[in-house]
């Protein structure tokens, strides 16, 4: 068979420190003649020179520190092939300090060998690694009980380990393909059947590898592709606008109708693009792809592309709040209410840990914190029991998720994101958490919680979905009018005369020949809102919300015309702003700018600009105009 047509499989070797993972691989490579000529002799010679005993592990542990300390620090890849397929074998470190390296290695794998030292028995990381495999979604697992030579190939000890570990795996829903008694050092049951364990009639490690199933591409799941980028290269008169990304699951064909989430925009696939390849009319899971669409809609990185017909069955959620299982690798604990970044697919948003439901010791599976007690309260949760300190040099903190712990928790993102839940669509439920510059945790979304705007968002998605436009795109209008459509919100406390400033600004822009419109709140209140008019009492929060929703819908239509829309409001809060933004899910970000008129901001609003010098409305208007120029909202 032509090699390039052959299948491949990535295998990771995990387990507790010193249980013999690197030795298993070294032995496997040596016994299958997969090492470069002279490599074994070279390592043996090096050991002789440094008067060290020879270790098969040195074939993998290439770093100076690894050899001098006799441990694996970072994962290594090695390559070998059998008649059946090609393998990339990934050696993972067993020391708890290098858990992040173990996860890095294991996440690349499609199957795993878990090594347990027969003499030492099941240890902390034998279990923790098993747990991590299940979180990473690796379900093909074989367990090697190693160093059988040290226990005289004793069947009884072996069986005890098999029983105990099977029980543990059952708890985390892993059903291992095999248990194999081996001695990596002596080569028993690695590449050939052991003569020392005639009582064992299962397969060798090598046979077990070939017996693993090929990793299956998830072509039969609904189509999902995160938009990685949108390309428009003008060189050599290329006028294609190509939406690029790697397909997570499913199949997409030319003429399929697609929707992008979270924006809810829809269009149709016009062509599949590929360079230096035969023309194609479909793309499928795993492929780095690109396609063009029929309508000139504005799409950017971070959107999740799905197929319209499939949304009737399984639709991605669009939300800011969800439940997740999370593992933490950061040097600092993960704190409640601190701002992190969350990366899911190709999108990246600010996120905070809103609530810890429970923290689990991934090895003992014990729940670490209070049972069912609300941990909403931050680090000094009253009555939270003292937790045994995990890793010596890591600061330990109550009411937070500490390094190497696993937690069930609720996360809240700053903007809504599109995702699936792990039970049906594991690939698009996975995320990582970035603390400053470092990836510090990862997790899977288990349940959508939804937020207070979920209902409104549904309406907006439907609106965008059904939105019909003439032949003029926003980009065409922007080019014609030399301005970007945007909504300016002029707010502040009661004293500041926001209306005068707004009207002066409208006049100034108009005089310059721009399209600007001052929208008085009253105009909406007594017209569009006449059925729910009595709004400004807090008791009628719902009405206030509905009022703002309607105002935003009116604004949305005006913005479609390409205008600069000027609105005034008193004492706007951040909640109001979030609501306005939810309704105005539009083409580009930054098309809502808030100006606070007054010396100090009296609400929790995050205004873009504070205009403290507001007595002179001409000057205030000038300042706003200058800001619009700086932001490239108006040009020429």
């Amino acid at each position: 068979m032509n090699n390039s047509e052959q299948n491949d499989l990535n295998i990771v070797i995990v387990g507790h420190v010193d249980h013999g993972k690197s030795t298993v691989i070294g032995r496997l490579l040596a016994d299958t003649d997969s090492l470069p000529l002279g490599k074994l002799e070279q390592i043996k010679e090096m050991c002789r020179r440094n008067s060290k005993p020879f270790e098969y592990a040195f074939l993998l542990d290439a770093l100076k520190d690894e050899r001098s300390q006799g441990i694996t620090i970072d994962t290594a890849r090695s390559f070998f092939k059998t008649e059946k397929r090609r393998y990339i074998i990934i050696d993972a470190p067993g020391h708890i300090e290098f858990l992040k390296n173990m996860i890095t290695g294991a996440s690349r794998a499609e199957a795993a060998l878990l090594v347990i030292d027969a003499n030492e028995g099941i240890q902390e990381n034998s279990r923790r690694h098993g747990y991590m495999l299940s979180m990473l979604g690796i379900s093909q697992i074989a367990v090697l009980v190693n160093k059988m030579d040290l226990i005289n190939y004793n069947k009884k000890i072996y069986n005890n380990i098999v029983n105990e570990y099977s029980q543990f795996l059952r708890k985390i829903n892993i059903n291992p393909m095999a248990f194999i008694p081996v001695s990596a050092m002596r080569g028993d049951n690695i590449a050939s059947k052991s003569k020392n364990m005639t009582w064992f009639d299962g397969m060798t490690v090598l046979e077990t590898l070939d017996n693993f199933n090929d990793a299956k591409q998830p072509d039969d799941l609904p189509f999902r592709m995160s938009v990685q980028d949108v390309y428009k290269f003008t060189a050599a008169n290329d006028d294609r606008r190509i939406i690029a990304g790697t397909v997570d699951s499913g199949i997409l064909r030319v003429n399929d109708e697609i929707i992008f989430y979270p924006s809810g925009k829809k269009t149709t696939v016009k062509s599949i693009e590929e360079f230096n390849a035969a023309p194609k009319n479909y793309i499928s899971s795993g492929y780095a792809s690109g396609f063009t669409v029929t309508e000139q809609i504005y799409i950017k990185r971070g959107e999740l592309c799905v197929k319209s017909v499939e949304t009737e069955k399984i639709k991605p959620f669009v939300s800011t709040t969800f439940k997740a299982s999370l593992f933490w690798l950061g040097k600092e604990p993960m704190d409640l209410n601190k701002i992190y970044s969350l990366k899911i697919g190709s999108s990246k948003v600010d996120v905070k840990l809103k609530k810890i439901i429970k923290v689990i010791n991934a090895s003992s599976l014990d729940e670490i914190q209070t049972n069912g007690r609300n941990l909403f309260v931050g680090r000094d949760a009253p009555g939270a029991p003292q937790i045994p300190v995990g890793v010596a040099d890591t600061p330990f903190q109550k009411g937070a998720i500490n390094r190497h712990e696993v937690a069930e928790c609720i996360l809240e993102t700053e903007r809504p994101i599109a995702f699936d839940t792990a039970d049906i669509m594991p690939l698009t439920s996975r995320f990582v958490i970035v603390d400053r510059y470092e990836i510090s945790g990862g997790g899977i979304i288990t349940e959508n919680i939804g937020d207070e705007y979920s209902e409104i968002r549904e309406k907006v998605l439907l609106r965008n979905f059904k939105w019909e436009r003439g032949n003029i795109t926003p980009a065409m209008r922007a080019e014609r009018f030399c301005q970007k459509a945007c909504m300016l919100i002029i707010t502040g406390n009661q004293d500041a005369d926001k209306k005068i400033i707004a009207k002066t600004l409208e006049q100034d822009l108009f005089n310059e020949g721009r399209i600007a419109y001052y929208l008085g709140i009253g105009n909406v209140l007594y017209g569009v809102d006449s059925d729910i008019k009595n709004i400004y009492s807090n008791a009628q929060r719902e009405n206030r919300e509905e009022h703002i929703r309607r105002l935003s819908e009116v604004a949305n239509i005006l913005l479609e015309t390409g205008a600069i829309l000027i609105v005034t409001a008193t004492m706007l809060t951040q909640d109001d702003m979030d609501l306005i933004k939810t309704v105005l899910t539009r083409e580009s970000e930054g098309d809502i700018i808030t100006y606070w008129i007054g010396k100090n901001i009296d609400t929790d609003i995050k205004a873009d600009i504070i205009i403290s010098d507001f007595e002179d409305s001409d000057r205030a208007s000038l300042m706003i105009k200058k800001d619009l120029q700086d932001r490239n909202i108006i040009y020429n």
Binding site: L63, K64, I103, Q228, Y231, E274, N276, G286, Y437
Partner: protein, 293 residues
């Protein structure tokens, strides 16, 4: 998905990710088969375009055919090609062929130092002007924050430990003991000012994969890789004083692939023709930390 399709898609994904995430991105092009495959993957990723500069470190001891080939391909593909060099060391004859330093030191000066200072913009960059077909001093002196490199994990021990996105500190140092986690297709793309990232899209490829891909995609490689009738060819390209041809009569892709699969090179390491690898035991790990390619 077959083996080569998987490798190709993963590499393209990584190249696209770097293009999106780094403002100052470049790709190193050593003219060898690996970085030329990388170049072809970039053209696939961007549908025929290469939207960032290619940087070549010219030691001035490269086999002459390599430079001719480099310039021809740059013209044909309209590549934004930049080269850098260690002018000082060359002028002062601080080189191994001049018999003034040993091989490892020569590599350090002509490659590592030249690379470091070309990437940071401190030394002169020469850029091809496609109107004249000649190189000109480039005015762009900004440091590159993302550098795409064609290293493979199967080349040598410390490379098997690399990340796809590998951070380097201010001194270009690689902290192998504390590398960032990398999983679920999410990479380290956030970095502190002054540091930069090396990006390795070919990490999972083996030498055999490279040749099978070259055959499948008809990648244009330097003819030095083939036997020209003298019964020898280059398996790995570098500077002529330190790279020797291997005995082989492989004249085309098929011959080379056959040789690697079951023939005489089936289990002989690729860099066995490189003299500097033999000079010092742990030297390569040290050079790698320095940014040696």
């Amino acid at each position: 998905m077959n083996h080569l399709d998987k490798l190709e898609s993963k590499s393209i994904h990584i190249i696209r990710e770097s293009y999106n995430q780094f403002k100052n991105l470049c790709m190193l092009w050593s003219i060898g088969k690996d970085s030329t495959v990388l170049l072809c993957l970039a053209r696939k990723a961007f549908f025929g375009h290469v939207p960032f500069p290619l940087v070549h470190i010219d030691t001035h001891y490269k086999i002459p055919e390599m430079i001719t080939y480099r310039d021809n391909l740059a013209r044909e593909y309209k590549l934004d090609l930049i080269y850098g060099e260690n002018a000082e060391a060359l002028k002062n004859k601080q080189t191994f062929p001049d018999k003034n330093v040993n091989r490892i030191e020569c590599c350090r000066l002509l490659k590592t130092e030249a690379l470091r200072n070309t990437l940071s913009g401190e030394w002169t960059r020469y850029r091809m002007n496609h109107d004249t077909g000649k190189y000109e001093v480039s005015k762009d002196k900004e440091a590159y924050t993302g550098v795409i490199v064609g290293v493979r994990a199967d080349e040598e021990g410390s490379r098997s430990k690399e990340r796809y996105f590998s951070p380097r500190d201010k001194n270009n140092d690689w902290d192998v003991g504390d590398q960032p986690p990398e999983f679920w297709g999410q990479y380290k793309t956030d970095f502190a000012p002054g540091t930069h990232l090396r990006i390795h899209p070919l990490l999972d490829w083996t030498e055999l994969d490279i040749w099978e891909y070259i055959r499948r995609e008809d990648v244009p490689v330097v003819p030095l890789y083939f036997d020209d009738g003298t019964g020898s060819r280059y398996r790995s390209l570098g500077c002529y004083p330190c790279t020797s041809p291997v005995e082989s009569t492989a004249k085309n892709f098929d011959d080379i692939i056959e040789e690697l699969k079951s023939g005489k090179f089936a289990n002989i390491a690729e860099r066995s023709g490189r003299e500097q690898d033999k000079e010092d035991g742990g030297g390569l790990e040290e050079l790698r930390k320095d940014g040696y390619m």
